[in-house]
């Protein structure tokens, strides 16, 4: 028992020490940033800002949000802190609904992804749609790749294409779930190249990659960072990139559009604020997060995750969301996910 108390004391002291350090830092920043605040015509932010992450802790969106939230404080007026709050459930619609309904004062913003704002609204269950928010900044735009086992007979995309053309409905590919961006991306390729492949939905990208390594499916469509560990270990390799841009680490994987098929399904991640958030507040948030994204330590941590930051301002980000919404809707109709 004594031991337990001793350990607890140690833990609490550590935590307390950590907290007080932060306090000193933020106090220091407060004075330094004092005149910056007066320029912007508003005293925002006077209290901590909450970022709603509509997914459970530990996922890619959550990790990215946490990396940014630690780095962004020092770029905000007053050195205000930013807190990540996980509101998982309802395929990300619950968290985004909370942002949708929040007061437009900039203290509650949300980290959205393609699934939450460009796919779910099509099912008609969410109270919001793709343009119900004020876009702030896009932080990531991750392409998806078709991966096959390292010992698969197809060395190039062309060889693979020849095989699936000759054997329609034979090639099985795993994804993170039905109606997931990966599923939509592959169906888009199916339509563009006039081929037929069989979809096998798994419960997340991890199990899909595991099933591929075990040889239970012949391919998998996942975001690059989800395949990174196994690609680096030489167990699987990427055949084609069905997104719109290449990733630094896998530059030699061709894009579908380079091969003449118009397939560009990326997964975006970015910040949204409630619809009528004042322009000055959006600008303050945008500038602070933009600076955080340029922070070398943030870039470094993103690299380790296997992604590169991909900036877009409010207008460009909104255009991205809308385009993606329209494209996904067309494909979802075509494959019968929605009527």
């Amino acid at each position: 028992m004594k031991k337990l108390i001793a350990t607890l004391t140690v833990i609490f002291t550590l935590v307390a020490a950590g907290c007080s350090q932060n306090e000193i830092q933020s106090n220091g920043n407060q004075t330094a940033a004092g005149d910056q605040g007066s320029q912007a015509n508003t005293d925002y932010p006077t209290k901590p800002i909450e970022i709603i992450v509509p997914y459970a802790p530990g996922g890619g969106t959550d990790t990215a949000s946490r990396i940014l939230s630690t780095a962004v404080s020092k770029h905000l007026p007053n050195g205000q802190s930013v807190v990540v709050v996980n509101k998982a459930g309802g395929a990300a619609t619950i968290g985004m609904t909370e942002v949708f309904k929040a007061k437009p004062d900039g203290y509650k913003i949300g980290m959205t992804t393609t699934g939450a704002t460009s796919i779910q609204p099509h099912y008609g269950k969410a109270p919001y749609t793709h343009d119900s928010f004020q876009a702030v900044i896009r932080v990531l735009s991750v392409p998806q790749v078709l991966v096959v086992r390292a010992d698969a007979p197809w060395k190039t995309f062309e060889e693979w294409l020849e095989y699936v053309k000759a054997n329609p409905d034979k090639f099985t590919y795993g994804t993170a779930g039905a109606g997931h961006t990966a599923h939509i991306a592959m169906e888009a390729l199916n339509a563009a190249a006039n081929i037929k492949t069989k979809h096998v939905p798994f419960d997340g990208a991890g199990p899909a990659v595991t099933a591929l390594v075990g040889g239970h499916v012949e391919g998998a469509v996942v975001q690059v960072q989800e395949a990174k560990a196994q690609i680096d270990a030489g167990k699987i390799r990427a055949l084609i990139n069905v997104g719109s841009s290449k990733v630094e680490a896998y530059k030699d994987v061709p894009l579908a559009k380079e091969k003449g098929y118009d397939v560009q399904v990326d997964v975006y991640t970015g910040l949204l604020a409630p619809k009528d958030t004042p322009k000055e507040i959006v600008t303050i948030l945008h500038d602070a997060f933009k600076k955080a994204m340029e922070d070398p330590s943030v870039i470094e941590q993103f690299r380790k995750l296997g992604v590169d930051p991909s900036y877009a301002g409010p207008e460009d980000f909104q255009k991205d969301i809308t385009d993606s919404f329209n494209r996904n809707g067309e494909i979802m109709k075509k494959i019968g996910l929605i009527k």
């Binding site: 337990l4 530990g58 946490r66 040889g215 270990a233």
Partner: protein, 501 residues
Amino acid sequence: MDSIALLLGGFEHALTLWNLLYCLIGVSIGMFVGVLPGLGPVAGTALLIPLTFGMEPTSAIIMLSGIFYGSMYGGTITSVLINTPGESASVITCIDGYQMAKQGRAGTALGVSAIGSFIGGVTAILGLTFLGPPLAEFALKFGPPEYFSLLLLGLIMLVGLMGKSVIRGLIAACFGLMLSLIGMDPVSGAIRFTFGQMELLEGLDFVVVAMGLFGISEILLNAEKHMKMEKPSTIQGLLPERHEWKPTLSAIGRGTGLGFLIGLIPGANSVIASILSYSLEKKVAKDPSRFGKGAIEGVAGPETANNAHSGAAMIPLFTLGIPSSPTVAVILGAFIMHGLTPGPALFQNNPDFVWGVIASMFVGNLILLIFNLPLARVWAKIAMVPYEILFPLILILSVVGVYSINSSLWDVGMMILFGGIGYLMKKLDLPIAATVLTFVLGAQIESTLLQSLATSQNGLLIFFERPISGVLLTLGCVILVFSLISGIKKRRSTLINDFEL
């Protein structure tokens, strides 16, 4: 022999002051996370990852994996004391563990779990040390059809645990399966039984259902008794009585083997390990009627199995870079954040790291044993707190715990609703564990069935074409036929004497 030398080198890293401290912090947090209802190991590890950014990779992984196996120890405590599982692997421990606590043997139940967990955990790590890579390659042979057969086998075992009335057991099991259908269909994406509620889109949360059905209903049931419960007078020792040692140790042995094998298979969760272990114990026991009335093997076996499972689950992660459970997936994320690529190359490129972490797991399990044996006595005292005080406290903790999962009042409401349902089920003698277990397995059975069919060229034949899946299904059929024959022969006499979940 190489492995031994490397392992000793690993101890050099694990036994530095800082790494020992991180190991201690990790397992302590793990235990608390296991005790607290709602906060599971997944959230526990995920929330701490950002804290590890500044640490050495070895220390970071030592701490995070400590949380993972530490939580397996903690989950038992609430199962035994207040009949509410802290995490899904401990559902089955409620059955006999809580009965033991009612007889004043909470200390023994916790003591035996701690010893069993230690043996299971350490054996699994020894497996990781010496047999890891070849075993992991074999485990990869488990694809959707094999999972489906394994899960089906688990369900058949469950029928064997039904208790007094098979009909009542089946009603409870079907209720669980129905609950698992709520939410988005994993294959077509169609939305089922959500009544337009967004909160139901991803189905019901395990913690909400389990805490409602087990915990809240227990409070309601006891409240009815005017708060006058038979109170255990004294806490008996932590160790089993002399004649119990032999069956306990063999239960621990069987639990270790079973948990280890199932832990190797990516995706097979620890619930299956504990169900199979429980039913195995009941099958081999001389007097199966003791089960459900505080049989010590019914605690020792499953508790050992879930710890052996968590140790073995690290094998596919280290050797192949494949996460076998959600918590391990979070740890995989931490590996990558620290610039380490799990997989065969890890052993060659970062031997200091690998062996340091493996050695720390031995140390961590030892710390947990040292913690838990004396602490079991302290925890067990909770069972002595008057119910007027204990129950409101449990209620508050449950509400806060459930709220903390998604910061959602909806979940709290659902838990209370399930508390009401659980109360009715207890009144009607429907076995709640059957509902919760089929609820956990149901969603996986459905998606593995559909995945298998999507990959199959010959429809349902795929389950018999593949050797592992064929053997598992045949085994299931044999068990089913034997149970039916023995049932007819004994004219249900055994079943009537049987326990109740």
